[in-house]
């Protein structure tokens, strides 16, 4: 039984006279790897930013795990189990990899003055780093990582909060095919363990083999939501990509 984990309805954002997102609505079912695709300028990243609280919306509603999210706030969403990555792979360059991960663990106030990387947190962090294959660099500053390694670190970091839904913003942009494969593998493994994904992607091959359902945006609104095969052959979707 799948229920709606993330619900978006009527999301709108105007920049000057242009509506980047225009009454956009869609649902993400729990336990899916859902894709959010659309031609350039269709409003995918803007929608992402609004849902995750990085950009105030002009209008619209977002619900997560059945509860309405008033004025999305990244910190609160993270604690509630909704987290995201960035296209540019944002990490904390001055902190070591271990510290990058441990800072993402929610801390009660009374532990504030304890050691920055407690033994237990260290274990968890190292395990996660091992999974992603970058544990060798655990004590190096994150600023030394290559772009691909940063993507992995960022991915690992958002998992520290034990989220229910992970929004991936163009996870394979700017990385080589080996890395793409690795990221895809991680997504599948985590999905098998019960994590839900919403992925903005341009790599259509990846989307078609990894994601179901696929949501298509065009000019700020949803034009199709369905299984990849259906979407691939849908008239409206083809028109949107090829341009009218």
């Amino acid at each position: 039984m799948s229920k709606t984990l993330l619900g978006v309805s009527g999301l709108t954002k105007r920049f000057g006279g242009v509506a980047a997102v225009n009454g956009c609505s869609f649902q993400v079912e729990e336990g899916t790897i859902t894709a959010l695709i659309g031609p350039n300028g269709s409003g995918k990243t803007t929608a992402f930013n609004m849902i995750t609280g990085y950009l105030p919306a002009d209008s619209g509603e977002v619900t997560f795990a059945g509860r309405a999210v008033k004025r999305p706030n990244p910190t609160r969403l993270y604690r509630a189990g909704l987290t995201r990555t960035f296209q540019q792979a944002r990490v904390f360059p001055g902190l070591t990899l271990l510290e990058n991960l441990t800072v993402a663990i929610s801390q009660p106030w009374r532990t504030l003055l304890r050691r920055n990387v407690a033994a237990r947190d260290r274990e968890r962090a190292l395990t996660l780093l091992e999974e992603f294959g970058i544990e060798r660099l655990a004590t190096r500053p994150a600023g030394e990582l290559s772009f691909g390694q940063r993507k992995l670190l960022e991915f690992a970091t958002v998992l520290m909060g034990e989220p229910r839904l992970v929004l991936l913003d163009e996870p394979t942009a700017g990385v080589n095919p080996v890395m793409v494969e690795q990221i895809e593998r991680h997504v599948r493994e985590l999905h098998a363990r019960g994590l839900t994904f919403l992925i903005v992607e341009h790599d259509m091959h990846l989307v078609m083999r990894l994601c179901d359902p696929v949501i298509v945006l065009d000019r700020g609104a949803t034009i199709k939501q369905g299984p990849p095969a259906e979407v691939q052959s849908d008239r409206a979707v083809l028109d949107a990509y090829l341009g009218t």
Partner: protein, 345 residues
Amino acid sequence: MSRFTRTGALRAVVVFGALAAFPFVFPAQWIVNIAIFTLMYAGLATAWNLLGGFSGYLSLGHAAFFGVGAYAIAIAFTHIGIGGSGYKPFFALPLVGIAVALVSVPIAWVALRVRAATFAIVTLTLLFVVQQLAFNLHHITHGSQGLALPPPPFDVSTFEQPFYFAMLGVFALAFFTCWWVKGSKLGLMLFSIRDDEDRARGVGVRVTGAKVIAFAVSVGFTGMLGGVWAYYIQFIYPQFAVDPLITIGAVLMAFLGGKGTVWGPTVGAFILVPAQQYMAYKLGASELYLLGYASVFLLIMLFLPRGIIPSISDHLARRRSGRPEEPPGAVASAPRATLPGGMAP
């Protein structure tokens, strides 16, 4: 970043031991006088660094809290009296520190809700507000006429010593706090805020809380130092108790030594304060003093923006590895040949 390395602890013990012995080895009063101001600025710079260096929020108004601490001690003891031994004001210092810290919390909460640039403006404005208050509230502060403290009954020949140890005490406390915070979870939160505050929020870091705590602790120490200063100077005026130059001096020293490091501000103070006192002695006129300060500041900003300690440790790291810094080894799972594309907005 491990917290208590043996060499680190040893270094601290040696330095503070030397500082404790200093006034006995060099008892000349003019020397101890310079040392008092050196320690004061070392404390101010270290306290400022806890907020400015660790979180990246540069406060330009710390002198406001210095002045609050100074006036608090002055006003309190003008009324209460300093007691037989003259040590009462020193015992009151922790109270002053805590009071200043608590009072600053609502201010911090308002000031830290905005971006770092606006924050700096707010703190600067705070400085002017407090200075105005000091001038205008005649009944309490005696305004521009100045406020006198009762003279302490200390032995004339070693008059400076109690003040020296009071300053050393507060400085040591501030230093140790910085050291502890750096290795703690709070420190981690602050550094993540400095690196990328928005992202820190995005991974659940309680950003506002961390900043407020750093702010409160930072100004608490600043207030305590102001209290010692007031008692030492004996006569305080608004324009000197709440003096923008105090903040600029502390900030300059933190930058010179390396903001964000634990020893940096101390190194900066130990270099600049004696130099500044010497300059004042040689050049006399305070007008040139300002020019001198400004020039040093600009030179440091332009040529040594990271400060002494980070520059030295970088240099040593480069020497050790025998070549310019590069990440250690290749990671097999992620070949470095990444595509440049895909990063367009």
